[in-house]
């Protein structure tokens, strides 16, 4: 078994070799020369898993909850792949990935695979790398894939578009309850978990959430992409998507209490998506996002590769001197080098 070639890696991964799986993920993270051929080889084998996003403010108990959820799934005989994402330090480029500490109970189980990922470069890049790693775990045969991300911001919205079911984790005692429940979560939450239910103030957090939900769920899944609405036709399914009201589940992740109920809610949502056509709709949405992202990167790279550095430098200088506005500069650059598509 040769773990240095695309064929060797692909065959070993599909045969369940964990070393090969780990290696393939590294190729994707590092964007090596093997990354694209590996993705192409594995893509046809993916598409079976249910993908679950778990997000929420730092310290709300996401990792502990992922640990508890996974144990429930394992009791049900389902295999679980986990991607735990933590931020890269903008100062050093390094990262401290500590989510495994809370997932100790899963060690030694061949039905579980945990991979920690740092955010590394740009947000868009992260969303793409995450989507690719999800696809790889899916191709490797994991039936449930759980992605843990910190916070609720633009990056989470993009990552959420990779998940079929997004669980937003809240916890009491994060200060002012309403304040703590950040704007934006309603758009991505399919389920709320109010964790640390053993602590004082749970009911206030639940109340705050109920209030927010009763104020009305905004139009779901109008995912903004770099300020622009995705130009996808999504007929039928939008109504179905708003017909789902996010349930609120109380959990105590440290003891596993509520984990079964949370898994039930996730599975209900999975069935709901399948029956309403929402899964297909999300697949299409994701495909649209992915294509846009890849196309943009591809065209940019392609154009920059053919732009003489002097021409680019001259344009930068001209814009900086205000001799020319940036739009006109771009227009001229593109006219100069032309648009050319070469096979890759």
């Amino acid at each position: 078994m040769d773990l240095t070639t695309v064929t060797g890696l692909t065959e070993a991964l599909l045969a369940g070799n964990r070393r090969a799986l780990a290696r393939v993920i590294s190729h994707i993270e590092n964007n090596t020369d093997l990354a694209r051929p590996l993705l192409a080889a594995l893509y046809p084998h993916a598409g079976q898993a249910h993908i679950i996003g778990v997000t929420g403010s730092p310290g709300t108990g996401k990792s502990t909850l992922v640990n508890a959820l996974t144990q429930v799934y394992r009791q049900q005989g389902l295999t679980v792949g986990i991607i735990a994402i933590d931020p890269t330090s903008p100062f050093s480029g390094g990262a401290l990935l500590g989510d495994r500490v809370r997932m100790r109970d899963l060690a030694g189980d061949p039905g579980v695979f945990i991979r920690s990922m740092a955010t590394r470069g740009s947000l868009g890049g992260l969303a793409q790398a995450t989507a690719d790693v999800i696809m790889v775990l899916d191709a490797a045969g994991f039936e449930r894939i759980i992605i843990e991300t910190v916070g609720v911001g633009q990056s989470e919205v993009e990552i959420a578009s990779a998940a079929y079911t997004t669980v937003v984790v809240e916890a009491p005692g994060l200060g002012d309850e309403v304040q703590a429940i950040k704007a934006g979560v309603l758009e991505i939450a399919d389920i709320f978990a109010v964790n640390k239910a053993d602590r004082e103030g749970v009911d206030r957090t639940v109340m705050a959430l109920k209030m927010m939900l009763s104020l009305g769920v905004p139009e779901k899944f109008q995912v903004m992409h770099h300020g622009r609405m995705l130009p996808v036709e999504i007929p039928q399914a939008r109504q179905d998507a708003s017909a789902w009201t996010p349930p609120i589940i109380k959990t105590i992740a440290t003891s596993g209490q509520g984990a079964k109920e949370l898994v039930d809610a996730i599975e209900n949502h999975r069935l709901y998506l399948e029956q309403s056509g929402g899964r297909l709709w999300r697949d299409r949405l994701r495909a649209a996002t992915e294509l846009r992202m890849i196309l943009r990167d591809y065209l940019l790279e392609n154009l920059l590769a053919r732009t003489p550095p002097e021409a680019l430098q001259a344009a930068i200088e001209a814009v900086a001197r205000r001799d020319i506005d940036p739009y006109t500069a771009v227009q001229r650059l593109v006219e100069e080098v032309g648009v050319e598509v070469t096979a890759h």
């Binding site: 780990a22 990262a95 990935l97 030694g108 740092a118 590394r120």
Partner: protein, 134 residues
């Protein structure tokens, strides 16, 4: 290409002294590495499996219990079982000087006690990886 060196920091055995491991994890992050911290009470098999899943270049063991001469060979053995013989192994904590030669003999790339400078650890890692990549 965006190659990052990945380091697993783990505490094998039953010792609960985790300050040093956390200090080192943070220092290595600040040195630009992606550090995966697994926490305390890890068995050698758990450490090897985590190293495999995370596809790390370096495994750093923090041991203050005095059980290093028993634990380190077992971690090395588990890593070998999974085909991870290329991983660079570092040991830190309370390690008497007289044990250091034996640990290096086992294949440990460096042993680091209290007061270690991050730069020394980084140098050991870079040298060990450089040798392997060459």
């Amino acid at each position: 290409m965006d190659r990052k060196v990945r380091v697993l920091v783990a505490k094998p055995g039953l010792d609960g002294h985790d300050r040093g491991a956390k200090v080192i994890a943070r220092a290595l992050r600040d040195a630009g590495y992606e550090v995966i911290y697994t926490g305390i009470r890890q068995t050698p098999a758990m450490i090897a499996e985590a190293a495999l899943q995370e596809d790390v270049d370096v495994v750093g063991l923090s041991i203050l219990s005095g059980a290093h001469m028993a634990l380190v060979p077992r971690v090395i053995e588990e890593l070998k079982k999974l085909g991870l013989e290329d991983v660079v192994i570092l040991v830190g904590g309370i390690i008497p000087d007289e044990d250091v030669p034996a640990l290096l003999e086992m294949g440990v790339a460096g042993v680091f006690g209290p007061g270690t400078l991050t730069s020394e650890i980084v140098e050991t890692i870079e040298n060990a990886l450089g040798r392997q990549l060459a």
